[in-house]
Structures are given as C-alpha cells and as structure tokens.
Amino acid sequence: MAIKLFDSELRVMEVLWKEGDTTAKQIAEILKEQVGWSKTTTYTVIKKCVEKGAIQRIDPHFVCRPRVTREDAQEFETDELIEKMYDGAADQLVASILGRKNLSRDEIEHLKQIVNSLE
C-alpha cells in the first residue's frame, strides 16, 4: 500500500509506529513536547492521515491505529526517489549508494548480505 505522506503526517505516524495504538489526545501531548504543535494542529494532521487511509480511527476515545507500516512509507519514498532522480532505474540508485564515500564497514557488510540473500 503506497501512500504519499508529508513530513507532518510522517511525524504523527512515527509516534504510532513507536507506541502502537495511541489516543489522539496522547499524540497531541507527545507532539506538543516534540515539535511544539498545538492540539488543533495535531488533530488536523491526524484527520488528514485518516482521510488518506494511513490511520484507522477507533472510537471511543479516538484511538489511532496505524494502517501503514514504516516499511510501506519507506517503499513509497524510495519508489518516488527512483522515479524522480534515477529515471525509474533502481540499479542506478544502488550504484549511487555504493559509490558514496561515507559508507561504514558495517553498512557495506549489510548490503552484501542483502545482495546474497536475493540471489
């Protein structure tokens, strides 16, 4: 399931991915702490997520349940990146990641494992 989420919406999703089901009230409290949003702002963003189908609203108490996983969101962002920057060629993206100077030893090992597992 691929949904385009804006930064603000991802911020709400982050809370849910970390905490699991959470009431809107709690999300608002957490985000007030984190990014200084007012309650109404948080509710606006939650509503947006509900509309997009990223959050399921469970009453009573307006409990929010994530309907997309972090991986879903990542996949969408990656697809978009490949489409936008690499003309739809995923290998170019991989090449460019591998070509980066700042990959640590661990990261390189991890990448090798992924390639092996896919073969």
């Binding site: 804006f6 930064d7 603000s8 911020r11 990014v35 200084g36 949003w37 007012s38 606006t44 963003v45």
Partner: protein, 541 residues
C-alpha cells in the same frame, strides 16, 4: 470623498509613481518607492485628503477657470463670506444612505466582499498548512537566532509543502524554510535568513496586508492592480538592497545566485504567470547586481521626488464651488407692496424661469405671479445648504400673497478633488412641509436675508482666490472700508464711517459682487464705472 474620486486621484498618483519607478528604479534607494507606495495606499484607503495650494488639482481648477466664461462663487448670506475650502475637507459618505444604495454601489460592495473573501480564505488555508511545519534541527540556524535577537519572538521552521522560503505572521512572525533547501550550505542559509529577518523587522507582512486591503476596496480599478503587483515587487527589491548593503557589494553575485536557486524550485508552481515572474525575477537580479552606494545626489533626488509627488498629486485642490456656465449674474426678486428694497440686477425673465423650472410644475399666472402646480407660490428657493449652517442661493422668489413654499432638489456633483458642487442637475421641485411653511417668517426673509452674495468674475479679471478683504482694498480710495470680524471671513463694510447694509459692484461685463454686512447697516452703496469699464467711484443709493 466618494470612492470614485478617491480611486481617480489615486490612479493619477499611481501612474506618476509607475513613471518615476521606470525612470529611477536603479538609481534611487529602494525605500523611496516604498514611501511613494505608502502615500498611494493612504490615498486609496483614507477618505480624507489634505488640501494644498501646490496640488495639481488646484492648478487644473485655475486653468479650467481661464477657459470657462464666468466663474460664480456663491457666498453665503447669513455668514457673510463663506470660503469653500471646507468643502474639500468634508468627506461625503460613499454610501449616501441605506435607502438609496445604487445598484453600482451594491456591485462595488459585493466585489469587496468577494476579494476579501478570496484573500482571507487563502490566508487561513495557508496558515493551517504552515502550522504543521516542523522545527528546524540545524545548529547554524539556532546560532543565527541567538546572534540576531528580535523584540518579537521569531520562529524558524521547515516544511515540505513549500518550495521557497517565506515569512508570515505580524505579531508572532514565523520564518518558514523549504525542506528541500540545502541546510549544509551555510552561505546560502545566511542569505535566506537575513532576507526573511529583514522582512520581519520591516513589518513587510503588514505592508502586504494593507496592499491587499487597498486592492479589495478598489478591485474595479486596473491601475490599482498594477500598483499591487509593483508594490509587492518593490518590497522584495528593498529587502534585497538591505541584504547587499549588509553583506557588502562583493557578495552581490552570490546572493543573486541564491535567489535564482530558490526561484528555480519555485517556478514549477507558477506556470500560470511564468512570464510574469520571470520578468520579476529578472528585475530583481538586475537590481541586485546594480545596487550602488547611495549618493547624496540620490538621497536629495529621492526626497524631492517624494515630497514633490506627495504635494502635487496626493493632495486635493483648494477649489471653490464653481458653477459653470452660469451667466445670469445675480438673480433675486422680491415681490411685495411694502417698503423693502428691490435689487433687480439681471433679473431673469419669466421665460428664463419657465425654461429652467417649467418642467417641474412651475408656471406664471396672468399677473406674472409664480405658481407651483397651479397654487400661487409664497416662497421659492433654489439653493444649496452648505456646511456651517450657511447656504448659497441660486434664485429666490418671495410673494407674500402666495400659499405654498417650494424648493428645488439638485444633484450634487463631485468635482473629483474632494470638493463638491451642490448645483448639479435639477432633479425636482418639492413643497416645504406644512410645519416649515408655518415657521417661515416672511418679514425676516424680506429684511435680513437680502440677495445672496456672489462673486462673479469674468475670466482674466481679478483672481478667484482673493479674499473679501483683498476685494475691498480696491474700493479703499472711494471711502469704502471693510472690517473683518474676529475669527475671520465675515465682517462689515463702511462707507465714510457709515455701516453699509448692501454693497453692490456691478462691472461692465455683468460681473457682480455684492456684500452684506453681518451686523446689518443702513445704507446701500454701489459702484460707478466710466464707459471704458474703469472703476471711478462709489455712491450711496
């Protein structure tokens, strides 16, 4: 001042500013244009204007009077002289009364409503969107904020919904940076923050709101749209100029490049007015690259332009009510059998009166008495109430045997410079109410309210703007003396020490000046001219 006269005079001013801008944009400190636009916005939103003798409208009035045959300046009766500068200071409500709102006014108000709604809705929507912005996690930005304390707390946030930096909020300003910005490029960040902070310091958000307000009120005027676009650009240009001055001229190209980078990202959205924005960005780049040190000459030129433009175009003319094409001179008729005096100077004939008032129920019986819808008229008044309980009269008729009092109603013409001419087109003749009829004291009318006073000058004659005192200085050699009352503009006339009830100066060309002393008096004096039209004396009647 009506909305039309406001919009017209402001349009002239805008066109002047546009011309000045085209000529001197790169040569003057940009603040000059902001000040000029400020004057324009005041002109658009403030329904009062300052009368000035340097005003272009005064000039037009003068020039206009050279070509018109005769300018008649009515001067009130009871008050002696009534200088009509006041007329230009009293704004007329653009909506005269709730009952008589013309359809055009309704259209205008509806337009304001629609425009304002558009701005407010967009603003509220964006605001809601921007509130979901996230804090910027950048040490550089935090350091910048510490180094640049402002007396209003400024928040810097980032959002992925915008593509170029912006600032919003007047009381609690927020600088919003696009997510796509390169937060590692310190130089670029510094320029962007300096630019947005300059906007905050200068209350540019407030300025833009005022521009939008002016646009809403004058939505029907394309010239105001031009102003809106250019003034918004000039706010940016002035801001850019401040940055170049802060960072030094060597940074011009780097700053310009930063701008282009930002603009490139933005242009994806503005396909609709792409050409337009390209033109604007080009103007911005050129103006940045050509920012020069302000010279003394530049400052002087800027001051001269601002003061000059303001004095000449942003003021209203000092004009008096000019009744054009009024050639009958003084017209005052008293009919009655008793001892009152009769001034019969250029008395209009029945024919004249019929042609003027006939269409509205005025006729004359076989004895030549005026009738209104067949009833004999006791008192007829064609005039206008001016301010200060004064009135000016065009034609007055009195017949003690009449049974009905009537008066005319006329359109008021807005002269377009803040003054009004109460003697517009005749639109009807109405009866005074029974109460007013009973209250009217005929003896009072016969005695104290003599002829109305007019100054009628033949063009090329003495200037229109002379005061009463100046006027009377002409007759000094003939024993006439005018003593102004304290408080000015009214007074008494004396002839060899005697108070003059009525002074009449009728020259060869039919120009008439009559004056009535405020405190009564007992004699009537008129002037004598030789056949060449030269004043040779005065005599008591």
């Amino acid at each position: 001042m009506s909305i039309l006269s406001m919009t017209l005079s402001a349009s002239i001013l805008i066109l002047v500013v546009v011309a000045v801008r085209a000529m001197f944009l790169l040569r003057l400190p940009k603040i000059t244009f902001l000040v000029l636009w400020g004057i324009v916005v005041c002109r658009l939103l403030v329904p009062y204007s300052i009368p000035s003798r340097f005003s272009v409208y005064t000039l037009m009035d003068r020039v206009g009077s050279m070509f018109s045959e005769q300018i008649v300046t009515p001067i009130s009766t009871a008050e002696g002289i009534h200088s009509l500068v006041i007329a230009s200071e009293t704004p007329a409500p653009s909506v005269s009364s709730a009952l008589s709102v013309s359809p055009l006014t309704l259209v205008w108000l509806a337009g304001i409503f629609v425009c304002a709604l558009f701005f407010i809705v967009t603003h509220v929507r964006c605001r809601r969107e921007y509130r979901t912005a996230l804090p910027v996690e950048s040490d550089f930005v935090a350091a910048w904020q510490r180094e640049h304390p402002t007396w209003r707390p400024v928040q810097v946030k980032r959002s992925d919904t915008i593509s170029a930096p912006l600032t919003y909020g007047i009381i609690k300003p927020v600088v919003l940076l696009p997510k796509s910005m390169d937060y590692t490029d310190k130089r670029q960040l510094r320029y962007v923050l300096a630019h947005e902070y300059t906007h905050v310091m200068r209350f540019d958000t407030l300025a833009k709101s005022l521009l939008a307000a002016a646009l809403c009120v004058h939505w029907f005027n394309p010239v105001v749209w031009v102003m809106y676009v250019l003034a918004n650009r000039d706010i940016e240009l002035a801001c850019d100029e401040a940055i170049v001055r802060t960072f030094g001229e060597t940074t011009r190209s780097a700053y310009a490049r930063t701008l282009i980078t930002m603009e490139e990202k933005k242009s994806g959205l503005t396909t609709l007015c792409n050409n337009f924005s390209r033109n604007a960005i080009e103007e911005r780049i050129v103006s940045i690259m050509k920012t020069k040190k302000t010279t003394t000459f530049g400052i002087v030129l800027a001051l001269v332009l601002v003061v000059g433009t303001a004095a000449v175009f942003a003021t209203s003319g000092i004009s008096r009510i000019a009744i054009g094409d009024y050639t009958a001179g003084i017209t005052y008729v008293v009919e009655g059998e008793n001892d009152n005096f009769q001034t019969t100077l250029n008395v209009p004939t029945e024919q004249d009166l019929l042609s003027e008032y006939g269409a509205y129920g005025i006729s004359f019986d076989e004895k030549g008495k005026m009738c209104f819808n067949g009833e004999p008229v006791r008192y007829f008044w064609d005039g206008a109430e001016l301010d200060d309980n004064a009135s000016s009269v065009y034609y007055e008729y009195l017949n003690a045997d009449g049974t009905v009092d009537v008066h005319t109603t006329r359109n008021v013409i807005d002269n377009g410079d803040g003054s009004e001419n109460p003697f517009g087109e005749l639109i009807g003749i109405e009866r005074y109410s029974q109460e007013e009829y009973k209250q009217r004291d005929l003896s009072d009318l016969k005695k104290s309210s003599g002829p109305d006073t007019y100054v009628a000058d033949v063009s090329g004659g003495s200037g229109q703007d002379e005061s009463v005192a100046q006027r009377f200085s002409k007759y000094k050699g003939y024993g006439i003396e005018y003593r102004e009352r304290e408080g000015g503009s009214v007074g008494n006339v004396y002839y060899n020490g005697q108070m003059v009830r009525l002074f009449i100066d009728e020259n060869k060309w039919g120009g008439i000046f009559t004056y009535r002393s405020v405190d009564g008096g007992e004699i009537i004096v008129h002037t004598i001219y030789d056949e060449n039209g030269k004043l040779v004396g005065v005599e008591k009647e």
